[in-house]
Symmetry: C2
Subunit: 270 residues, 2 copies
């Protein structure tokens, strides 16, 4: 591909050239009934994938690609946009277009439309608040909540039930930053996930959630609260909710009896 196809003459360009090109492609058997920019994008992706443009190197500049393929800069840019959206290149003014990956990164998306989905509580579950109190971090709690000693949090203990079953499906200990105004009142009147309430009420944007799931053995008190057997297995899901700036805004620690709860996720490839 070292030959540089010359720019088409003005007359050729004046009439929309795409149909002619498509005809060519069709007759050549390539059968690319796609817009030109998509063809270019596919070709660039193929070349990167083949190592023709190695990772770390620069792609030809936009103008060079224009000449190379005999197309306008808009079309080149549209193609490069696709390649960029595929995660293969990054672009910077003056520097140019750098190849950053050889193959599109495999990304599985968790189609979580709400934090509700993450928590997997059906709408009909109900929450029963056991206690709500203000706590000041000692060293241990400060480590858990990633703050300095002395910081104040609101601790909420609760049970969650489904209708018509006296046995709770989980017990949860939640910590919310006590610095939020009227947070105690809002917590009491809140029905759904705390994180959703925080977003709604305070305009906080939860940018990241870290979740860790573990199998544990139920202790005596937990078993009693959950109406389960002592030493029976349980699922412990600890979730940390972070703001955009990386500060922790909420932590919840939920314990589910093993026979009453299964955590299900679905990952869809992008």
């Amino acid at each position: 591909m070292s030959r540089s196809s010359p720019l088409r003459s003005k007359d050729e360009r004046r009439v929309h050239a795409k149909p002619r090109i498509k005809q060519e492609r069709r007759s050549a058997g390539t059968a690319a009934d796609q817009p030109r920019y998509q063809q270019i994008a596919d070709e660039l992706i193929a070349r990167i994938s083949a190592g023709r443009y190695p990772v770390g190197e620069l792609l030809p500049t936009e103008m060079e690609l224009c000449k190379l393929y005999g197309i306008s800069r808009s079309t080149v840019r549209e193609a490069l946009r696709r390649v960029r959206d595929a995660g293969l290149i990054s672009r910077r003014r003056r520097t140019g277009t750098k190849v950053i990956a050889q193959t599109p990164p495999v990304i599985y998306r968790q189609p979580t439309n709400s934090i509700r989905d993450l928590l997997q509580y059906a709408d009909e579950t109900r929450i029963e608040i056991l206690s709500e109190k203000r706590v000041i971090c000692d060293a241990r709690l400060a480590a858990l909540l990633e703050c300095r000693e002395g910081h104040a949090w609101l601790r909420l203990d609760s049970l969650r039930r489904v209708p018509d079953d006296p046995r709770p499906i989980c017990m949860t200990t939640s910590y919310v930053d006590a610095g939020l105004p009227d947070i105690d009142k809002h917590l009491e009147s809140n029905a759904g996930p705390i994180s959703a309430m925080l977003e709604r009420t305070y305009g906080i944007r939860i940018a990241r959630i870290e979740q860790s799931i573990q199998a544990i053995r139920l202790g005596k008190q937990e078993a009693k609260l959950l109406r389960a057997d002592v030493d029976s297995p349980a699922l412990r899901a600890m979730r940390r909710y972070y703001r955009e700036d990386g500060t922790l805004i909420e932590l919840s620690d939920a314990i589910h009896p093993g026979d009453r709860f299964t955590y299900v996720t679905s990952l869809v490839r992008e």
Copy 2:
């Protein structure tokens, strides 16, 4: 906003108008030091969010937006592209631009760059195959593997260890479709995740993964294999791997002793 600002005159347009606009915005305190298309996109999103353009209704056509904001069609299209990428509108020729959602869907993405991340096995773990045999589905297995009775699968039992610890971190039972040519040989010589091998070797594209996690009690045999206590809690992670057409291509059922494994996920808001 019923007044239709007239298109700027040719002279005004000849000199790039953006700086002037930015100046206006700045002096107005709106402080939108952003490209024009982004401003338009933000405004459209705000209006949709406010119900000014209700869900199900049509947005003004591109040409109408051109006149409304006094900008070119390219800029309008760039703005609409953003709004579409935000998931608020869908566009169709002749029909126009339809509002399909009032607020951007909250999407948390699990930045899983490989199935390795999902499995959370560090690179240094090693697999020890216990047995590998061909099985024919009876009714129970057919239900588990979502196939008809009589279908053949390859069943693989294995342990996974970290170096310098005789206690395995998990035992896994995997089922792979036996219809794949030479699958038994490929399984034996395979080191990493089976799903990755399937993609590599057979060009299979795994489109979806369903994962369910549960807390269970270790049985006698499992405890012995895992060198853990009988009745101690364990995490059971069952994963089903599906192809594009929805057929199951692999199932793996992993059991981790509760004290040796924590399942961690990180969700990042888009």
